[in-house]
């Protein structure tokens, strides 16, 4: 933590960056995103188990970008998000300083995107373990059971779009649900509208989800919608042998193809 604070301070002091995006402790003891612009306030930065939010979502937020060049406290999911955002032309790699945090909570020396790539390659890129267990549980059910299981979740949805807003990859300025010519997704938060919304969201993240689980965590009514995108992340790797967010030059799996892509259902 001291290393992190010192590094943040140094970056702000020598003008390398204008803002450091990290975590601070809120009054209720929760960690929350912090935007440090004053080196004297770098001491507020923390990094511990409470710091779970994927901060990469702020890299595309207009008012944060307006602050100037950014440094960002980056765990693996953040780093993978950054890779995706660079690949998709949303941020410029040389415009951000990555304050990498290892799984042991140590400050990493991520000099550039190349180093970050090397680091990511060495990491376990699978879905988090507890999610793997839930996925396995669901995959063991019959389709009808899975339908019932998901419908119970969908009934809870209030279409607040916290799942979308919390996701670093959902940076579109106009989401499909906001298109009304035609009205692709029913506006209503009813079982139909909610089911189609979650299908849409998961499909749009196919090959792009970096398994941070932020969508599920953000859901105020507790829908584990991250399992949808994580299942697809698994399948993307299964079919196309790709993990999202492993390079700054990724082509989405749904934007490319191999003539011999395997499937067994097209007759």
């Amino acid at each position: 933590m001291t290393n992190l604070i010192n590094r943040a301070k140094e970056l702000l002091e020598n003008g390398t960056v204008k803002v450091v995006i990290g975590y601070e402790a809120g009054p209720t003891g929760l960690a929350r995103p912090a935007f440090i612009t004053d080196p004297a306030k770098a001491g507020k930065l923390i990094y511990d188990d409470r710091c779970v939010q994927n901060l990469a979502v702020y890299l595309t937020k207009a008012e944060v970008k307006n602050l100037g060049k950014m440094a960002i406290v980056s765990t693996l999911p953040v780093m993978r998000s950054i890779m995706m955002l660079i690949s998709e032309h949303q941020v410029m790699g040389d415009n951000i300083v990555v304050l990498g945090i290892s799984t042991e909570k140590e400050l990493l020396d991520i000099a550039d995107i190349g180093v970050m790539k090397g680091y990511i390659e060495k990491c376990d890129l699978r879905n988090p373990e507890k999610d793997r267990e839930t996925l396995a549980m669901l995959n063991a059910l019959t389709p009808a059971e899975r339908f019932a299981w998901w419908q119970k979740e969908m009934e809870k949805c209030i279409k607040c779009y916290a799942c979308r807003q919390a996701c670093p990859m959902c940076y579109c300025i106009r989401c499909t649900v906001e298109v009304n010519q035609p009205q692709w997704i029913p506006v209503q938060a009813n079982p139909h509208g909610s089911t189609e919304w979650h299908i849409l969201r998961a499909m749009h993240l196919a090959g792009r989800c970096i398994s941070c689980g932020e969508c599920g965590r953000a859901c105020p009514v507790g829908i584990p919608c991250h399992l949808l995108t994580m299942q697809l992340a698994d399948q993307v790797n299964n079919y196309f042998h790709v993990h999202a967010g492993t390079s700054d030059n990724m082509t989405s799996v749904l934007s490319t193809y191999e003539p011999n892509d395997k499937e067994s259902f097209i007759i």
Binding site: L138, T195, G207
Partner: protein, 150 residues
């Protein structure tokens, strides 16, 4: 169940399957009239959301068909579509939405008879599966909110 006439929508590309279905006609091969075709320039154009919209509007089954791999009029549209369907199918399976109701096929412009087979086998299958109750319920549950308090 015997008087159940399934509604089946076919999403096909202009260059292969649509032309193949034309050939079925030219060859006067008969098939079930439950299937109605919507023409697209290419399977690559077919948005996965349209499949859901078909179910939401009451389709009991869907056929998606285009050019065989390597035969795409636009070289690669069907390959992109293939990947899209792989992901879509995995997601639908995971959500428990019945993929037996969708036939994905490649039917070329020369395969008039095959088109009839694809249609007939799909209609037979959907007939056995019966009306797509669970999706209709999903939609209806949402339609009939009216005065209920929840």
């Amino acid at each position: 169940m015997s008087d159940f006439e399934p509604k089946v929508v076919a999403f096909v590309c202009n260059w292969c399957t649509y032309a193949g279905a034309d050939l079925t006609g030219t060859s006067r091969i008969k098939y079930a009239s439950n299937v109605k075709i919507i023409r697209f320039p290419c399977t690559g154009r077919i948005d996965f959301m349209l499949l859901l919209k078909a179910f939401a509007n009451g389709a009991d089954g869907i056929i998606v068909s285009g050019c065989h791999p390597n035969d795409c009029h636009y070289t690669s549209g069907n390959f992109h579509a293939k990947r899209r369907w792989i992901m879509f199918k995995e997601l639908m399976d995971f959500m428990g939405i019945d993929m037996n109701r969708i036939t994905f096929s490649w039917v070329s412009a020369a395969e008039g008879a095959r088109w009839a087979d694809v249609v007939n086998s799909t209609v037979t299958r959907i007939r056995e599966l019966g009306p797509y109750v669970s999706y209709k319920e999903l939609v209806n549950k949402s339609v009939e909110e009216e005065v209920k308090n929840d």
